[in-house]
């Protein structure tokens, strides 16, 4: 059952060829055997998982099973899970037991999923390699010398390694799509407002979105169906009906116009990744899609704008971690200022502190207009670039990352080199558009991903195209050697 997808398992569970308890036990054993090597999990919840699996099997026996009933999944440790440690990959929350469930956790539970545990991640979702975690780095199941990507590195690696059949992640500048690409799986960042952020520990509130990671577009569709929808507890949640993502998968893509941004194929892109993207274009053309060159002239400003806005918003969001009401508190503070500074200094890692400092700088008196306000205006220019493209094409296609997975330690000393991993992904967060990454081949024996970018609330179209591509190719069926 290890190589089966969620959709296939759902059928096996329905036929009775396997029970949820059996599936869950097998996942827990694989997690236990791989934890020292891969380090995908911060917390494993075996008792809860087996209890939920037994309940799922009981529901099934009563004829009440849904598509996701009994499917073992994992949650990124950024989502509050009631009564269970929720660390956000940080020493700051190492002692934090969430007092409530995030909305997407409740929704996936109501859909019948079984929670195996909480996955490792870059601290406070800040990173592109899962090397910034207080709990140590995650290894890429395809090559243990390589990073899995980040910040949803644990979620991505655990799906790629067959430890869970699906996992939740979050994406602020690429943190679902980039690790999905580097681990050879599928992941989708929905439109801003499509999925509730209630209970999702905030990094950058105008950019953060939750989404699924799984082996296939079909599996992502099943998970997103359960996750998406209006939530009155999130004031940025959009009250728009959720389409039937599964029904949309089988539509023909004949006549679909796909745009290739000239700016995504320039300097810095690994030539073999470009070759893979061009090969995938031939596959999509054989399915009837029409390819057209488009322009996103402000692409080169995506990273600079992102690294003004995201740190600014994070400096505000992380101000709540002061050692008083929850989280890490330093020993023997001399006074209140010492309490705040040492709790935060000792609780946060280097990258988090770096981004808080940058964020504070760009918001400070004398610099606010030149940096933050100006970045917000350039953000609108970037958004308008996409708006203009969607007047000519239905979706945009390109590489997810400029290179395959890099080695652990290769970029950790150079923040700028790390930030450049997000060149093709962060513009989509700035615009609030949906983006999907699907497996597109291998370069230097490491997976690479293809990115599809859609117009607002067109997740169904992205999943449809990815599913059709996955019917015509088999990159998504490859698995790392055990």
């Amino acid at each position: 059952m290890i190589n089966k997808t969620i959709a296939e398992l759902s059928q096996e569970l329905a036929k009775g060829s396997v029970s949820s308890v059996e599936l869950t036990k097998a996942c827990l054993e694989r997690i236990n055997n791989s934890q020292k090597t891969l380090n995908c999990f911060i917390t494993v919840t075996p008792e809860l998982a087996l209890k939920q699996a037994a309940e799922a099997d009981k529901l099934r026996s009563q004829g009440k099973a849904q598509a996701l009933t009994g499917i073992p999944i994992a949650h990124k440790d950024i989502f509050c899970t009631k009564g269970i440690k929720t660390s956000c990959g940080s020493r700051m929350l190492d002692n934090f037991i969430a007092p409530y469930d995030a909305s997407i956790v409740s929704k996936l539970m109501a859909a019948g999923t079984v929670m195996l545990g909480k996955t490792n991640m870059d601290e406070f979702a800040m990173g592109s390699s899962n090397e910034n975690s207080y709990y140590g780095p995650v290894k890429n199941p395809w090559d243990l010398k390589a990073v899995p990507g980040g910040s949803s590195g644990g979620s991505s690696a655990c799906v790629a390694a067959g430890l869970a059949y699906g996992a939740t992640g979050t994406d602020t500048g690429g943190s679902i799509r980039q690790p999905a690409a580097l681990c050879g799986i599928t992941g989708i960042k929905p439109s801003y407002g499509r999925v509730s952020r209630y209970g999702m520990i905030a990094f950058a509130s105008s950019l953060d979105q939750a989404g699924p990671l799984a082996q296939t577009a079909e599996d992502c569709a099943l998970m997103l169906q359960a996750m998406a929808g209006y939530d009155e507890k999130d004031s940025t949640s959009v009250n728009k009906s959720v389409p039937d993502y599964q029904a949309a998968l089988t539509q023909s893509i004949k006549g679909l116009k796909i745009g290739l941004p000239k700016e995504f194929f320039g300097e810095g892109l690994h030539p073999d990744i470009e070759a893979s993207v061009r090969e995938s274009i031939r596959v999509l053309e054989s399915l009837g899609a029409i390819i057209k060159e488009v322009h996103l002239p402000n692409t080169h400003l995506s990273i600079p704008v992102y690294y003004v806005i995201a740190p600014a918003e994070c400096s505000s969001n992380l101000a709540r971690f002061d050692g008083v009401r929850y989280g890490y508190r330093c020993e023997n503070p001399k006074n209140l200022e010492d309490l705040y500074k040492r709790s935060r200094g000792e609780g946060f890692g280097q990258e988090v502190k770096r981004r808080i400092l940058i964020g504070t700088y760009v918001l400070s008196a004398g610099y606010y207009d030149a940096y933050y306000l100006h970045a917000q205006k350039v953000r609108r220019l970037i958004s308008q670039d996409y708006e203009n493209c969607f007047k000519e094409v239905d979706v945009i296609l390109g590489p997810t990352t400029p290179t395959p997975a890099f080695n652990i330690g290769e970029k950790s000393a150079d923040p700028i080199a790390m930030y450049l991993s997000d060149i093709y992904t962060c513009g989509i967060n700035l615009a609030g558009l949906p983006g999907l990454s699907m497996p597109g081949g291998f370069v230097e024996n490491r997976p690479i991903g293809l990115q599809l970018i859609g117009n607002y609330f067109e997740e169904a179209k992205l999943l449809n195209i990815a599913h059709q591509f996955q019917q015509a190719t088999d990159w998504h069926k490859k698995r790392p050697e055990k």
Binding site: R329, N335, K353
Partner: protein
């Protein structure tokens, strides 16, 4: 534009992060300066007539009826703090 060690000290204080000038301070200064140099690229963009985009969907704050809907879970939530007593969070003395 580059950030001086004094500026780093000032913004660290604003952010309530610890910072002291030491011989080891220069790597932090170098990192921050490289990041600022990178983000300085936005200064070249022509944004005449462009309004700032704070929200990706240009939404504004939604409101609801001003009525109590949440449960009072004070005691349960205060258990999350390492230093809380009788409904109060304990901190070092702030009033002389």
């Amino acid at each position: 534009m580059s950030i001086s060690l004094e500026a780093i000290e000032r913004i660290a204080h604003l952010a309530r992060l610890p910072y002291e000038h030491t011989p080891d301070s220069h790597p932090i200064q170098d990192d921050l300066n490289r990041i600022v140099q990178m983000v300085d690229q936005i200064r070249g963009a022509d944004t005449k007539g462009i309004s700032p985009m704070a929200h990706p969907l240009n939404m504004s704050q939604v409101f609801r009826t001003d009525e109590v809907t949440e449960l009072n879970e004070r005691d349960q939530l205060m258990l999350l703090s390492s230093k809380a007593e009788a409904g109060l969070y304990l901190v070092p003395q702030v009033i002389e």
